[in-house]
Assembly symmetry: C2
């Protein structure tokens, strides 16, 4: 039995490692088109910033480690150009063919910039691979750019803006939609804008960039451009092989992370998963989901039948020290999905003031008919991750606002106020009926 995994980052390596743990005899081959595997892609902005000193610090495992310690045949520079499922065979760019019994697609996603005039200029960057980050770092030290434009106000865009600002550049973020962080949420976007502006970064919304001129983008002068928009799943290889693509544009999967082709699995940024709140397929490419779905694809490729329940869509990003955390749906998102949402937003101290407590903002969204929680956000310099995780857990448990309002959360002065901001938000939301 041979398992072939296409992609050697989060999803692919999680699949390979899990398969090995469950089946010591399986032949496992990982085909990675790039030069490096197993890097913490979410750390790339911090490599640019300089907090992560060397690219090596983001590499968790080397191909040698996998070969020797796990007996997994990891091949770098191995770009798969086609899948012939009838023959259970993939073809590499080099012309070589690799046979499989089970196949896991962990082809990831990319910043789809192909079409835009000007993207090939040397001062234009993406931030998707270790190479991207290292090239950007070299450019910063060698060319000493003074003004940057970041295209896209999603997670990578704002993290890149933060990193470049810390290098002393003037930074303007251009976003096509009316929202930051890919969430239809005016208050969240306003909070992002305030923090960015406080640190001297300009945010312009509703700017649809059509081309990158040598010295400006959409009229904003700059000598450096970061493309952090147009993120798309890499599905071409799959589609060409007859694998179904879902309405989100990512590979359609069963709860077992299997595609429509039996024995062929997809995981990570190239795959759809179920959204636990809406029940519908969704595509929210994040490292945590990549690892989880990879593990499940790898397990099922060895004959198990593990299910992935789905995601709540939890995410967090730090912008100049403030955490912006979201899960589930915002009020407008919930409404667009057919819910009848009610929402409450409160601001409260995260901890007692004598323990240097700072203000934090919590929003909760619930469904008017069922009282079920639909989503929430937490914004603040303290404890944002812990609090959004409580909301995420409540979403996954399908809690109502009334269950949530009685949560037995930890209290002691060094850690939280006696009424946690989460509970104050819940009480506030209960007034909405």
């Amino acid at each position: 039995m041979a398992l072939v995994v296409i992609g050697g980052v989060a999803a692919g390596l999680s699949a390979a490692a899990r398969a090995r743990r469950l089946d010591p005899n399986l032949e496992i081959i990982v085909l990675e088109k790039g030069a490096a595997i197993s890097y913490g892609a979410c750390g790339l902005p911090y490599l640019v910033e300089g907090r992560v000193r060397r690219a090596e610090d983001l590499i968790v495992y080397t191909p040698e480690y996998f070969r020797k310690e796990r007996r997994i045949d990891v091949r770098t520079g191995a770009r798969v150009v086609s899948i012939a499922h009838a023959r259970r065979e993939v073809a590499l760019e080099s012309g070589a063919k690799v046979r499989y019994d089970r196949l896991v697609l962990g082809t990831g996603a990319r910043c789809d910039t192909c079409g835009m005039p000007g993207v090939a200029q040397p001062h234009v960057f993406t931030l998707h691979t270790l190479d991207d980050a290292e090239r950007m770092r070299r450019f910063l030290t060698e060319k000493r750019p003074r003004r940057a434009v970041v295209i896209g106000a999603g997670y990578i865009g704002v993290e890149a803006a933060d990193a470049l600002r810390r290098h002393g550049l003037r930074v303007t973020v251009l976003e096509r939609s009316d929202n930051a962080l890919l969430r239809d949420d005016a208050a969240l976007t306003l909070a992002v804008r305030r923090v960015l502006e406080e640190y001297g970064v300009e945010l312009r919304l509703g700017i649809d960039v059509k081309s990158i001129e040598p010295d400006r983008v959409a009229g904003v002068p700059c000598d450096m451009v970061v493309m952090a928009a147009g993120f798309k799943p890499n599905v071409e290889l799959a589609a060409d092989a007859g694998i179904e693509i879902g309405r989100t544009g990512a590979i359609r999967t069963t709860p077992h992370m299997e595609t429509n082709l039996p024995g062929v699995y997809a995981a990570g940024d190239c795959a759809e998963v179920t959204h636990l709140v809406s029940g519908a397929p969704t595509w929210i490419p994040l490292g945590t989901t990549a690892n989880k779905t990879g593990r499940i694809a790898g397990a099922n490729a060895t004959g198990r039948r593990e299910r992935f329940a789905g995601i709540a869509g939890t995410a967090i990003v730090g912008i100049f020290g403030t955490g912006f955390a979201t899960t589930g749906f915002s009020e407008p998102q919930a409404r667009a999905l057919g819910f009848s949402p009610v929402a409450a937003r409160i601001e409260h101290y995260s901890r007692p003031r004598y323990f240097d407590g700072l203000k934090t903002t919590v929003e909760l969204v619930a469904d008017r008919a069922t009282r079920r929680l639909l989503g929430g956000s937490v914004i603040g310099e303290q404890d944002a991750a812990g609090r959004i995780n409580v909301i995420a857990t409540a979403l996954e448990a399908r809690m109502t606002i009334d269950d949530f309002e009685q949560l037995d959360l930890a209290y002691s002065p060094p850690f939280a106020p006696v009424w946690d901001p989460l509970l104050i938000a819940a009480q506030q939301l209960q007034q909405a009926w």
Copy 2:
């Protein structure tokens, strides 16, 4: 209609305030035996330490505030000596009588030290009221004690030890049981011991103190003693009035926080509540529960029918900067309750090392038969509150370990590793079957 509330701290004032909000016309009288109301009792160790500068800083509201702003008649120095329910009347120490239609008991708890020889000496303290803390503070500055014994290794005991150590005293904590923090959990106790010893505080277990000598306790020389053991609910008033006391020793309540006497409610540290994991009545006196049950008692006293689901038993304490957080049951506790528990304990970084991540310990306990989570603990200098709250939320939702292992927790390098320690613990626990 008159609502009388006995007790003017967390539960009593929550009840009074909520009742006023729901019924603008109700006559509301709060009878508090002490001189102050509405203080943050959990802040007392920090008043001793000095982080909280003045006693006033712990007072949230004054009697004047309640009288003027809420039209609640708060009477301090008003000690109730009996309840005559047949006449719907309470009698004060002063001889005065106060009539009620609805009664809320928020009589709290105390450190039951009456019987022990030597407790009346001026160098012996409890840490239960503002007066206690101020007296201790004066003693520290005026008498400059050099060695303290703390009796009891529960929350207040270890917080007092921390505060006194920061004042430069040699501190020994004597605990009757084999465990710190009131939890049958050897690993937790060991972790508490390690932190205490690292900061020069000695912990001696299995020491049943029978008397306090002028210069020593159980053979340990000292010039100052803190009594932080023998915590008991104040139920005598209730019991004398024919109110049922439960097996925990606290006042028995319905889910509406009503006692066996119709129209008489109990809330806070004097009352039993349901433990959500065991389903049995429990007595875990904490400020959060006091506020929640007070609100519900107050609401129901105005004619509502709100239910208190119960508690998970979540608690956290900071000892020299490390958070010790627990919820639900430890493995031995779960076994004693008739479950067949399995447990896993892991140590992992709380955040990436390049974001100054420190190690954190997570333990999860689940039931072998049902795979339901039964409890957990989190120990560490970072993010302990946020993580224990996720476990608490999962307990309240009756999640299985398999639900928990798939939780969609927030990830981004400044906040957490891609595999949160909670999920690593869950994966580890899944291996136990």
